[in-house]
Amino acid sequence: MGFDPIRAEMRFGCGLSPVIAPPKSVDDMLDGVLGRDPMAERFPITLFDTFRAWIVERRDIRREIKSTTTTDEARQEAAAKEKAFIRGVNDEALHWLRQAMQRRVQTRDGFRERLSAFWGDHFTAYGRGPVLKVATGPYLEEAIRPHIAGRFEDLLIAAVTHPLMLHFLNQDQSIGPNSEIAQKRSGRGLNENLAREVLELHTLGVEGPYTQGDVRQLAELFTGLDWTPAKGPLFRTGAVEPGAETVLGRRYGEAAGLGPVHAVLRDLARHPATARHIARKLAVHFVADQPDEALIGAMVAQYEATDGDLLAVYEAMLRHPAAWSAGASNIKRPIDFVATSLRALALPQADLGAWGAKRINRQLRRPLERMGQPWERPIGPDGWAEEDTAWATPQGMAGRLQWALALPELLQRDVPDPREFVEAALGPGAPERVRFAAKAAENRREGVALVLMSPAFQRV
């Protein structure tokens, strides 16, 4: 078993489309991950570096409201302005959800979209507060998407030192207990959150060879990483814990600065435990909950041989026969279920493009929540569950069926003939039972929903 265009699009891409051809070869798939990013150009999402100005803007409005010199009238005006401003921010975030969906529906390089989502999940981060809470899209666009085909260490550095990650895992609250700032003002200290998650989630893995001492030392080494909405990322020397730190037996940070932070992240990225953790997670995500050991082995070997060149690791996966096995496969996550459905229905770019915020909320954001995957809001820094059991739940299946049955309202155009739709969605290998169900359905609406709910569509 090896490369197959249909399986390539279903398992590693964004699903079959009646109007966009699947990839022709493994080389084709890998080419699609490299170079220019046509989907990001066609469906842009604001970069965090631009986005952060909105935090400043909202803060200024807030200041006006709170100010003692503001007149009652001006205060009311400012309050109305704040409300409108927050609404505008939320609408923009719904627009980014639309853009992410458009990319998946319109792309010829589905693997690139899937990898972006995979790494975005691996480096889960989201904000608190009325503006920052929608910052995930801008963060992914800036820190994740440009780095998915390079070395893991560059991706790691971009994600871990990004303002949103510093905020999400409280690094921007952390100061060295003996730092200059701590000397002046007590009451603040070290926060280990980011350091722990870097070791446990981002690099070595929870079974990895690190101790609480390493967590603490890494947290001390991370002191100084900070940002402000006005200036973006910055290094705050006054927060740095004096002296060198030892992480996994190596000394870093004789001098304060970003250099030692990057050095420790590069070393962690090249650690054999990280190679295995990353290779296994990719295989679990794309192939099966219990992936073939030989497949993982091939990916680990490439990772180690290239110091974590991600393209080489992807290639090792895609060239391995086990990646193409027809056997046990994964259940699509809700975001993939929804996107592959819209792609199979060939939802025109202009249709989705014309939706207002309310409609995106009602027909995409809320259904995703109901299916168990609220948009960019996993419950913790470990991201979405990889196990199929997390998705094959009554609530999840009910959410999918409800959404699939409501497609006429969503499409607002003719629902396709289910007998044709079964080919578009599942290709020539569609199971006989699904063909039968599509034909025997009482109406088009149920016929199309039955195709989408079939295991052949829900599993990849």
Binding site: E192, E369, P374, P378, Q395, M397, L401, V434, R459
Partner: protein, 406 residues
């Protein structure tokens, strides 16, 4: 299509769907095992920081009226609890429960969370149940309580509503269900759905239970005609009963059956502005939920039920400049149910004199909200104190038994 197709699957039951859930023989098969306990626990998270001083008003405190000229309101004997505290008027419908000894409050409680007063962190800590958010606790206390208890199945505990709650997440199995899901398709559609899933037992099992739950919690899955179906899909059905009542009804339905624990949340408590108006609706919703639960489970089950309603923190003692209150520290929790030793306000009252306040602004917490939840679980399910203090709520000192339950 012959009968043989559907015989093995969930849709042979299609004929029975649409019956009221209590009468349906197909609700019972969900109870795979006998639950380990007979008592019931309902945990309600009040998201947004309920103002405990407005919900359970300390009329007897001489500093109360001065701190809240616009909110304290005059004493109303119809809402008087114990001569010192009185209920908010929006909770008036709960007075019969109070008189029957089925409603209690705890004043001046808090989690160990201090000072930053962020909803998100406060709620995370309330649900995670630890001493602080550091240390990466990733599961919730209700789930940890279940871990390792023999006989627990996913049907023992229901997390209800659309959100993912930290409270119930973790290694122990928990069912999630949101009663605002409406499934509506033809009998033929249901039969065909069954057919396509025949070779996939994992998806088929989840789908079967989804169909049963959707059928039990309101409108029948198999609609009379296409018009009814479309009306239902477009939210006609959801409009009929309010979301919080659908949740209460669904919780009651499950608690009457194999479920022993239900949890969900009620929002809308962040009353920074014009609190006289803004607090009324969430309080009414809470009252409606409690009364609906009581009616829904029936007298026998209600007698074994403890409802715990808790919030991330309290609100400032003094009114702010917009006739509301801001984020504070000490707050109140409410308990209801036939199993509760009600008719009293628990907790040591610290007083509202400025020197007695936390940070000179907030009600001083005098007990850990986790301790009361722990005693409720100790009373309802007999969980050992050492487990509650070590694993369920790490770092908690439960103190002496306050005699919360009967």
């Amino acid at each position: 299509m012959g009968d043989g197709v559907s015989r093995r699957g969930f849709l042979l039951r299609a004929g029975a769907l649409g019956c009221s859930a209590a009468a349906s023989p197909f609700v019972t098969p969900m109870s795979f095992a006998a639950a380990p306990w007979d008592n019931r626990l309902v945990v309600i998270i009040l998201r947004g920081a309920m103002d405990g001083l407005d919900a359970v008003r300390p009329w007897g405190d001489r500093d109360f009226a001065a701190a809240r000229p616009g909110l304290a309101a005059t004493r109303d004997s119809a809402l008087d609890l114990d001569g010192y505290f009185g209920l908010h008027p929006a909770l008036a419908d709960l007075m019969p429960l109070w008189r029957a000894g089925e409603l209690a409050a705890v004043q001046a409680v808090s989690t160990p969370y201090r000072d930053k007063r962020s909803h998100f962190d406060g709620q995370d800590l309330l649900e995670a149940g630890g001493m602080s958010l550091e240390g990466g606790m990733k599961d919730g206390w209700l789930n940890r309580m279940l871990q390792g208890v023999p006989g627990i199945t996913a049907q023992t505990t229901y997390a209800i509503g659309q959100e993912n709650m930290i409270l119930t997440s973790g290694a122990a199995p928990v069912s999630n269900w949101s009663p605002d899901v409406d499934l509506s398709l033809s009998a033929q559609g249901l039969r065909l759905l069954d057919l396509t899933m025949q070779d996939d037992p994992v998806l088929a099992a989840a789908m079967a239970e989804a169909v049963l739950l959707a059928d039990s919690d309101g409108d029948a899955v198999v609609a009379e005609d296409e018009a009814g179906m479309m009306a239902s899909m477009q939210g006609g059905a959801t409009g009929r009963r309010k979301g919080h009542l659908r949740i209460a009804d669904f919780a009651a339905l499950q608690l009457r059956d194999a479920a022993r624990i239900a949890s969900f949340s009620i929002g809308g408590w962040d009353t920074h502005v014009n609190q006289t108006n803004t607090l009324t609706r969430p309080l009414q919703r809470l009252a409606e939920v409690l009364l609906r639960l009581k009616d829904g489970v029936g007298a026998e089950v209600w007698g074994k039920t403890t409802v715990v309603a808790m919030t991330e923190f309290g609100r400032t003692v003094r009114e702010n400049g917009t006739r509301g209150t801001d984020h504070g520290t000490g707050g109140a929790m409410l308990l209801a149910g036939g199993a509760v030793r009600g008719g009293r306000v628990f907790g040591a009252w610290p007083g509202l004199a400025e020197a007695a306040l936390y940070d000179r602004r907030d009600l001083m917490p005098t007990s850990d909200v986790r301790a009361w939840a722990a005693w409720a679980m100790r009373g309802a399910f007999g969980i050992e104190k050492s487990r509650l203090e070590g694993m369920v709520f790490p770092g908690l000192d439960m103190g002496d038994d306050p005699g919360l339950l009967l």
